[in-house]
Symmetry: D2
Subunit: 348 residues, 4 copies
């Protein structure tokens, strides 16, 4: 059993980490911090946890965190980078669910998050935690930047055709993404209240979104091609549902791509991955099939001979956040990769 | 006051026609038919109408319908074309909310709807009822094919850049469309029940959808260009909301298009249209702003120098169906175009 | 045409007043105030109003308000009472949608709202604006306390059996009430965000709710019986829907009540009321049948010989707030009582 | 490991049984039947199960079912009673999630379900499967009638005050119950489609509901008092959410009840029950806190000195159906009572 700390346990990724970790066979949550709820029982704030834990929130105490084997940061951007060096020095591993360790390009980080990076050297040694694509590096990492929810769908949706050579025109990528409202977190904000979001649909961040540079950098790393993804389009939308994310990705095929057996390429690429499900040709992945599960489903379709549509569904809070974070923890500590992550999606 | 008949008054477009027409200053609904509800008061089926009408359903009786000045068909595909010739001969105008008079290409009609056309000659004389784009023809028409909901958003969203010459690459069009569940009608079907659709998001019809040929034909007519739209992509999605539709349209700009003032082009194109609202640059139209209103809102954005994103929102049952049908009726009878259509969207 | 002012135009009752009044044949909104949005176009905040008004928010200026024939206060509790005397002195009528003029019992007002009343004398002259029950007084009033949403359902649901003598046991009343989320207003509050309310159901205010004393006082006035309603139960619940309210009211019948034709009593009581609909025996009023309409539907049922269940549905923002306020305005200015209020509910 | 059969695996209780049993440490599902889907993979119908099972539907074959240690019937009413005797004779235990073994009163069964009972003798030997209240009998039972969802909340909500003597007036009970839409099952029915249920609230079955006689019989058994519950009121309502049930129960207290420490009585009554959670005084149980969990939460409140309000929340598909069925299986086979049932509710 390893001991776990969670910094920032009052948001949705925090309570989702608890839902998973309180049932994890190899981990025990020892520390749970909150700036505002010091001393309060966590099951008083989240009664779904009643009967499952006696944990109370505490103030962030770096000495207590150093006693943990791993610390998750389920905090706003900019918190993890302030504490990561001290934790790593104490041999405590760090998994940040915010953006501090996602972007290697510091200029982009500063542009999109409005923050100077507090530990650029450690950033260089950190590993981008897309479990399926960076498994070996994650196993050896001390600091993980857990991917954004949208970028997870885009990378896993595109990796099979980007890793193969010459099948697609990378500059043609258009990502029309849709997320449930929990993706915006748990904040008292007028734009997030029920009556503003129910029975409504809209795009947001059309002119630019923080996940665009993360996607560009990640696709460059996957494909080994620099500079060809800068002009891809990424347009997120807000769906009146709590959890769930679907990305519809459009990409033009080369002649080679048009004649390739893409369904087989996808199936083979993920043949050994238990958390990535390539559905049969003609399928349409529904977000509800992964509700609460650390699962991502992909289906591809070629409605025109030289145009590919890739549909990617996940639960934004699980494979898109807390679930993948635990999957990374499992890799870092050589646990079974699915430890604590075998729950089946809640349908209906 | 003209007299109006509605054939098929038990579906959602039927009850929406009633909601509008029972408050219309120049029209009175005299006949309301249903195959299954003969004799039943309509306000027994739809209690929202209690206090507003004493109408009862009757069996379809062509002689009664001939007494009407205009007959709306809010029926499944294939019904209007069986009765249109007889009605037109009796000088009764016909507005079909189904697909019988949408496609001039009979091969496409038969392919997608599985029906031989019953009156191909009358089809040639019929007019496609996209009010803003075909206003003059509609005014003189005897038979109107009321547009599909998705095609309405696509045509009004693209007309300004397709009517102008050389601004866009027409073959690059991608339409990622999202609809509320009422778009699927009022049918007892497992796929439509609440617990299968709430808190869920999915694409459907990815490999092909009936509105694709309608969109292609309509864009050819708008642009005057044949053959360039065959390979456009159209991918509809289902949103867990009752009403509302948002189409996100992607199109590549030519050099001329990249340097044009597209915001002005859109604003001028619709300067005199009260039902089409070009929002300020940077806006994102929300479907709830048109809930219940005969209104369509457009916003455009250029996230990359040569790529345009067009966002188009409407209520699928109003501007996408019953509202536009009444707008067409107003044109055909020289009423004020907004008669009966001045209601403000229900927000929240 | 009368001129209208609205104080507090950024909340849901404010925008609902605008939706109704911008289409009212006898009224024109001249002044619209907001503490925070001075100078902003109202259709920038609520794009549903685009094309319908050029109004901008202004700071509250009492001299401008005095120029109006009537001023609606769609503000938090405690605002209207600060300005009412000055307005009345200038011959401007006041309709408060908050609680300042609902309770004649000052001790209860101070207990539940935490405020000293600013104008107790004017309060005595004010009229409680339950339109159907206080019509004559409303016609002559200068200041109206517009009823709370829950109390409206309770009063109209119980009036027929309380006005008749000896049919029911008043002390046995239990009100199990359910409201859509818009009833809580438009506020940035954690408890109101989408992901906390969707796919969820709960009671709130079980131990006590501000509408309890309002209900007690109102039922005393209706029945002419003091002291018998103090121990009635009122338990509100929150429904994951935007608009709509259903109160399920339980009451024990006396022997006389058990043998009376209650359905007839209800139908006769409301025979001349266009906004109160007594449904046929065996009906169940659905909130969606009144969505957006100034309508309240009642059905009664006697599942046991001496127990009556009364079901009352309304749109909390219309008959429960803004619609009833306009109905009161119509009464005060001798307009047709349904002027501006003839819209049909939006179903589906 | 025991072998399990599920008859009727295409409904919501069927797929919920699979979600639980496919992760159960002591049970393996061997047979899964469907009248309509013979030969189809279950994960083709419910893609949430992809990666978790290779089961296919088969026709109901009684010989195959006899090989199972236990058979769950997740079927319409009337199916289990046709096969139960043969299964019991083969030493296979039967758990019926429908109503065949819920009511000992045959007249009531025939009145409410319209069926003659096929095995009245076996019915007498069957046990009503309210796990917490009938634990010892369940452990020895061959046939279990799994309780209805509403009756589960009512019994567990009232048991502490009914088991104690003289605290309440049993004839005063009023149950105002609210259920998510999944409680109506998975059927193609007009009344269940999304656009008829979203953003809506209504009562149903006000004049009478099948769960009324089940509640009456169960409360008689709990309290040992016959005849005092016949006139209690039970009014169910439909909430626009997928899962979740809240019953608000009103009951009058005797003088003894009014002076008792009811909070303590509840806490002590359930002190050793892991699936029944008595919340602190002043709490309001939200259905989302039990989403997907085999958990029932109770809170009590005394808004008037002699009136008690009991709030009871559960997931209608888990503690209200499939979860309690597995809990009963665990009891029957002497497994840990929480085997397979330790999942934490999905919040948000």
């Amino acid at each position: 059993m390893i001991s776990v700390g969670i910094v920032g346990g009052t948001g949705y990724t925090g309570v989702e980490l608890l839902r998973i970790l309180l049932r994890h066979p190899n981990a025990e949550v020892k520390v749970l911090t909150s700036r505002t709820e010091n001393g309060r029982r966590v099951d008083d704030m989240f009664p779904s946890l009643r009967g499952h834990t006696d944990l109370c929130y505490s103030d962030l105490n770096i000495e207590e965190l150093k006693q943990c084997d791993v610390v998750f940061f389920a905090t706003p951007h900019g918190v993890a980078m302030k504490h990561a060096e001290e934790l790593v020095a104490a041999n405590t591993k760090v998994i940040d669910l915010a953006a501090d360790f996602r972007l290697q390009d510091l200029a982009q980080f500063e542009k999109w998050y409005g923050l100077d990076h507090a530990c650029p050297e450690l950033l260089k040694d950190s590993v981008y935690g897309l479990s399926e694509l960076n498994r070996e590096k994650i196993q050896k990492a001390s600091v993980i930047g857990n991917p954004g929810c949208y970028p997870t769908t885009v990378q896993l949706g595109l990796a099979p055709v980007l890793k193969a050579e010459g099948l697609v025109k990378p500059e043609s990528i258009i990502i029309d993404a849709k997320s449930g409202v929990s993706g915006a977190g748990r904040k008292a904000s007028l734009g997030m209240i029920y009556s503003e979001n129910a029975d409504n649909f809209k795009a947001y961040g059309v002119a630019g979104h923080r996940h665009h540079p993360e996607i560009v950098e990640a696709l460059e790393n996957i494909s080994g091609q620099k500079g060809v993804f800068n002009e891809i389009l990424f347009v997120p939308h807000l769906v009146p549902m709590i959890r769930g994310m679907l990305s519809t990705i459009y990409i033009e095929l080369t002649d080679a791509g048009a004649s390739a057996d893409l369904q087989s390429i996808y199936e083979q690429f993920y043949a050994n991955e238990q958390f990535v499900d390539v559905m049969p040709a003609g399928s349409s992945p529904e977000t509800r099939t992964v509700r609460g599960a650390n699962q991502l489903r992909i289906a591809i379709c070629k409605p025109q001979p030289k145009k590919l549509v890739i549909l990617v569904a996940q639960d934004n809070l699980v494979k898109g956040a807390a679930g993948q974070a635990v999957q990374n923890m499992n890799l870092m500590f050589s646990f079974a990769e699915n430890a604590g992550l075998q729950g089946i999606g809640l349908l209906p």
